[in-house]
């Protein structure tokens, strides 16, 4: 009995943590490598670390969104790597997961578009502006749909994540700006601020979920 329990937890650990981490790491590496390779070519000497980091973070959103979206679209596949009891649980949360994955996709693309925008990048300014606004608004609408479809625990996690995101942004961005004001560090570029919002929002989601025990491997 003990051996069965142990082997089941080891299988869960492998399937729900190790394999997704390796797959996510490889996908993230491939996306990052592709983005840097493309940007170094497209921008030439105008390529900046800030733009590359922004595009990589946008790519990270895409990788996560694709993982969640594929798992939600195919629960039989999703139960192998999403942190759920079984495929039925994914079906129960499908609306939340699909809307959330779609929102992350649009937000990820928006950041990539802005990272590739003129004057340094190949996407014209007006096209980047209109695209970013449409993608942000549509993504926010999908996120709102996901929030409305959530039960009270997920709604509480969303609200708590917003609080952590605010605290994180004020602490990290504020501290950096204090340093910049005192000319101890360079000021953040506008694209750095956008990247910071994305990173902090993602980290805040993990913190809020973890505090509710939702990251415990099933």
């Amino acid at each position: 009995m003990m051996t069965e329990t142990k082997s089941k937890s080891e299988v869960s650990f492998m399937r729900k943590l190790v394999i997704p981490m390796i797959a996510g790491g490889l996908a993230g590496f491939a996306v990052s490598f592709g983005i840097i390779f493309y940007m170094d070519g497209a921008f030439g000497s105008d390529a900046s670390i800030s733009r590359e980091i922004a595009a990589i973070v946008g790519g990270l959103y895409l990788v996560i969104a694709i993982g969640v979206g594929v798992g939600a679209a195919s629960p039989a596949l999703g139960e192998k790597y999403l942190n759920t009891d079984d495929a039925e649980e994914i079906l129960e949360m499908r609306t939340v997961l699909m809307n959330s994955a779609a929102a992350m996709t649009l937000w990820g693309v928006a950041l990539i578009v802005l990272a590739l925008a003129a004057p340094a990048g190949p996407i014209p300014v007006m096209m980047a502006l209109v695209s970013a606004i449409v993608l942000f608004v549509a993504g926010s609408w999908l996120a709102w749909r996901s929030h409305k479809a959530s039960d009270e625990l997920f709604a509480a996690v969303n609200i708590e994540a917003s609080m952590w995101a605010y605290v994180g942004t004020v602490l990290i961005g504020g501290s950096w700006m204090v340093g910049a004001h005192l000319q101890l560090v360079p000021a953040l570029a506008p694209i750095d601020w956008l990247t910071l919002f994305y990173v902090v929002a993602l980290a805040a989601s993990f913190i809020a979920s973890g505090r509710r025990g939702m990251l415990k491997i099933k």
């Binding site: 129960e92 625990l153 997920f154 509480a156 509710r212």
Partner: protein, 73 residues
Amino acid sequence: MGFGSLENRLKHHREGRGWSQGELARRLGVSRQTINAVETDKYDPSLPLALRMSKLFGVSVPDLFIDDWEPEE
């Protein structure tokens, strides 16, 4: 004065009925994650959900959720 998570006897009552977390979640109209978070004291349910739980198990809310606080004399 702090408000930590309440201890609760939800798991005790659920297992007494022979229900899985999924079954209880279905009956209450919430996610399994919510049931799991309540049972492990990671989340205090809203008052409407606590009332539903008490109705479902036929016990009072204070029998489900234990609070040691006492009013001052």
